[in-house]
């Protein structure tokens, strides 16, 4: 593998397509095009974190639980999605595609590395942050993709409201980061 990368390292097309990061504008255009594709093919706007709630429901059902009576899954649409199963769930495949694609891109740029955990503070911050983001995204009916990106793309005012408060959150988050990690 090493020899292979040594050989193509200087190739200009390798650098252009795999090694160097794409400009932000190119990334933005590609995201826009593919969210139109996902809307056209699945009938729903792009979302990422709603899938986690459905994965949770399927795991819960695997252990004999039932979410029929839960308010979050009570609509006929949500029940139909859960009954159709994970293999027929397009957003699941899209999320797996994102993970596989990101891994492929990192490996092609020979940038894949298993990073060490530097301190217990990182673990605490990651777990706390993950729980807050997951909980927040569900009660807001969307994360920065479903509520913000797809919201704004659908010309919905809620997307802009989400953006304003995400900005406030980012400022608070940065202050906390500097306070606890510097």
């Amino acid at each position: 593998m090493k020899a292979f990368f040594e050989k193509i390292k200087e190739n200009e097309f390798y650098k252009l397509w795999f090694k160097d990061a794409l400009p932000y504008v190119t990334g933005a255009v590609l995201l826009s095009v593919f969210q139109i594709v996902t809307f056209a093919t699945t009938g729903n706007p792009w979302g990422v974190s709603g899938v986690f709630a459905e994965w949770g429901a399927w795991i819960f059902e695997l252990f004999g639980g039932s979410v029929d009576k839960w308010y979050y899954f009570s609509s006929p649409g949500a029940q139909a999605t859960l009954n159709a199963g994970i293999l027929n769930h397009a957003p699941t495949w899209r999320n797996l595609g994102i993970i596989a694609g990101a891994l492929f891109a990192a490996m092609m740029a020979s940038g894949f590395k298993i990073k060490k955990i530097k301190s217990y503070k990182q673990v605490v911050a990651a777990v706390l942050g993950g729980l807050l983001m997951g909980y927040g995204a569900r009660i807001a009916f969307g994360c920065n993709i479903g509520a913000l990106y797809s919201g704004i793309a659908s010309l919905s005012l809620s997307g802009w409201v989400f953006a304003a408060f995400m900005f406030v959150g980012a400022i608070i988050g940065s202050k906390l980061l500097v306070k606890y990690f510097m």
């Binding site: 990061a21 990192a106 020979s110 940038g111 894949f112 590395k113 990073k115 060490k116 955990i117 530097k118 990182q122 940065s174 980061l177 500097v178 990690f181 510097m182």
Partner: protein, 76 residues
């Protein structure tokens, strides 16, 4: 005599390497060299961007898979 300061930011996500670099270079004298070790690709982008904007001499070296050294010379 110029000295070299090594800043270990391995395993640290954005924007910590950038903030640490800003603080480290503040304490350094003109002519000193700051070597920032990073393993998050976003730091490989935003740290050199900031340093070049400050007018410093910047070089990025790929030392291993997913590991870079950003070499910044405090030129002024």
């Amino acid at each position: 005599m110029s000295k070299e300061v090594v800043l270990d930011c391995l395993g640290e996500a954005c924007p910590i390497p950038l903030v640490k670099s800003e603080k480290a270079i503040e304490k350094m004298a003109v002519g000193d060299v700051l070597v920032v070790q990073v393993d998050h690709s976003c730091a490989m982008k935003n740290v050199p961007e900031w340093a070049r904007k400050q007018g410093y001499e910047v070089e990025v070296e790929e030392v291993d898979d997913g590991e870079w050294e950003i070499i910044i010379e405090k030129t002024k």
